[in-house]
Symmetry: C2
Subunit: 417 residues, 2 copies
């Protein structure tokens, strides 16, 4: 029984990922409308089809006037202008404002030709047929010019960007009808193990149902992939090799769960090797839990990961490593930093020697403070998966963390947050 020769620290794993999977890959594109683009990744830049707002708009309720007419207006020395008309929302004014005239204008209304400033309602009084201006304003005040928001032809979105709700709104405002987005990444998940049966199956003694396969498929789905569950493979090199060979042509990423510990891992590693060169890039990471992770790359450039069989380990490796690869494939960039919640550690924790350790915690609010309560239990226990709200990290080569110290909790995603 061989031991792992060299455990690679996470930092170096991420450098290796950056080198071997620089991305963004030459993925299939599809054209969608702005509403369908939510959560997708732009395949090309987006250019503004015309100016925005497209006409001169008032930013306040008030009167459109000529700046020269109101320049001298001040407290006690008002200026009186003739009421020329009213700007109706959604319509171009049917008149040009002449010197000495004012027009009623609502927020968002089109400033009539001739006017070059909008005086706020608060600085005016209306009398029959005329308007008293109590305070002047400089040319352009309270007006958005036709191209102040966006100029026609301007790049408004860079390629390889994830589309958020506010981007959907912006695309709609510009009247963009179709945008090219990348097809979802095609992910295939296999489980291995002679004792593993599908989740919908009744157990014989000695068997367990597959937890990691569905968990990983769900995680990939949640991250926008088109995830296919490839089923359960026997711990047999030829079977695993054939399954990988059959799926590598129609996948952007492949995960093999459960066959990556030493011994079992030899089958997974050999099967990945058979897809190369380069084949296996990393075998064993300095992460607890998660040591027996394999990262490989097929000859065609598809990432193939041997995921640890323990569900908690698989969860940690998914978050730290798999998502980094997905991000590079889609955007060509590293994962952006993740938000954390500062919390007080509820009990002291010893660190492991030579590996960074990820500890699951519950978040408990006591008075106005949050406490991080470690969830104990081996990484093979599924029940502990359900109890955690987040994860804290004990860095490599640190003796441990003391109860009472402030730790940064990475939330596992509780609902809408």
């Amino acid at each position: 029984m061989s031991l792992f020769k060299q455990l690679l620290p996470l930092e170096q794993v991420l450098i290796s990922i950056r080198e071997h999977f620089p991305g963004p890959g030459p993925l299939t594109m599809e054209d969608v409308n702005p509403l369908e683009a939510l959560g997708r990744v732009l395949a090309r830049k987006v250019v503004a089809p015309h100016d925005l707002p497209g006409f001169r708009r008032a930013t306040v309720d008030g009167y459109a006037v000529r700046a020269a007419d109101v320049a001298r207006a001040r407290d006690g020395e008002p200026v009186y202008l003739k009421l020329r008309g009213e700007v109706v929302m959604g319509q171009l004014p049917g008149f040009t404002l002449a010197a000495g005239e004012a027009a009623v204008i609502p927020t968002g209304g089109a400033v009539p030709p001739g006017a070059d400033v909008v005086v706020m309602l608060e600085h005016t009084n209306l009398y029959p047929g005329e308007v008293e201006i109590l305070k002047g304003a400089a040319q352009g005040t309270n007006i958005i010019e036709a191209n102040d928001d966006v100029c026609q032809g301007q790049m408004v979105f860079a390629p390889h960007m994830f589309v958020r709700p506010e981007h959907v709104g912006f695309l709609c405002a510009m009247g963009v009808q179709r945008i090219p987005v990348k097809a979802p990444l095609r992910a295939v998940v296999f489980s291995t193990g002679d004792e593993i049966v599908p989740w919908h199956q009744t157990l014989a003694m000695g068997q367990v149902r597959d937890a990691n396969g569905p968990m990983l498929a769900a995680a990939l789905t949640g991250d926008g992939c088109q995830a296919t569950y490839g089923g359960i493979l026997s711990d047999d090199l030829e079977i695993v090799k054939k399954a990988l060979k059959d799926s590598v042509e129609r996948a952007d990423i492949i995960l093999i769960s459960g066959g990556s510990s030493v011994g079992k891992g030899d089958v997974t590693a050999a099967a990945i090797q058979s897809l190369g060169p380069p084949g296996v890039l990393v075998h064993g990471v300095a992460i607890k839990p998660g040591k027996p992770t394999i990262i490989g790359k097929s000859h065609g450039g598809v990432p193939v990961l041997g995921m640890p069989g323990n569900p908690v380990s698989a969860q940690v490796i998914y978050k730290l490593i798999v998502r980094s690869i997905l991000h590079r494939l889609l955007t060509g960039k590293d994962m952006p930093p993740q938000g954390t919640i500062a919390a007080i550690l509820d009990r002291s924790l010893k660190g492991p020697s030579g590996r960074s350790e990820y500890v699951r915690v519950r978040l408990e609010q006591r008075a106005d403070k949050f406490y991080a309560v470690p969830v104990l239990g081996e990484s093979g226990l599924l029940s502990t998966l359900a109890l955690a709200d987040g994860i804290i990290m004990i860095p490599l080569n640190v003796v441990g963390l003391e109860a009472g110290e402030v730790v940064e909790v990475t939330p596992l995603g509780q609902g809408l947050s």
Copy 2:
């Protein structure tokens, strides 16, 4: 032109939400399988249908033995046991281990009857027909008992919980076939304004396309709602009243965009009032941008929100207020804390008097530090929406924030993070 009488600070807005929308509402349920449950909210608790793992399992590769047989084994004084057989993965051993015997067992294998400890492979040597045990171990070592993970009948998930990928895996492992989840919240979004036209329409001069309606519908969709875009309503009390009346019976939450500033807001407020009592609960919040927000409640208990017309304001109010309401309706709890990224503020910012201010920032990495660079521009400009990575808060009654100080950035959600 009246001013807002009283601007409610966010803290008090959230208290009002807690009081008026305690949740979880009596929502429709549906039964789904574990894979379909991702991102849904459990309608009832989930109870384990049987013990997990369901049989005694080895947690290491080694030999199943009787603890009494190996108690005296130590360095230089090994114990020799007869090799009885081998445990095959996924099968119950066909033999009972007698005194003086050992059986080969792989990690995850079923411990044979008679054995009560598994000795690690590293502490053994195999000879023809017998095993040398170099080191004893206490009863139960390296064994998970049949109900160590979960006991039959134990509540494994509380109701009103969001289902994450690891929960899907756990449900699969337990063989849960169908689980009751809540139907998605039915959200209806209206836009108002005589100058607003649908996003797919060509503009006449003076018109603008609807940005907020699609943005809010997309945000609700992203949060798991079944969002319906109700279209654009004229700024007319009777029309808005009728639209609300027609939709309040088939909605769990209603958002009206763009008609909530003073003047325009009178129409929205009056229309919401017509659905009461209680009708309008909050009119005006001490949040910048977002002041002209209205929170109302129909007689039947449906939240109806008047959203500010400026897109940036609508974005902020959605994140701070709408999501809090969604969370209460689904779970009966406050929004959990959100993760933040510590960053160095790139330039000083003045705070507004009497309102907490939310400033959009770009995150820039320089060397190994993150900087928060404020995105400038009025809240009416759509282009600024595309530039921000996150939001920072300047608390109520603070003079401002200084360049160089560390601020907490709430990410807007960049891709997978």
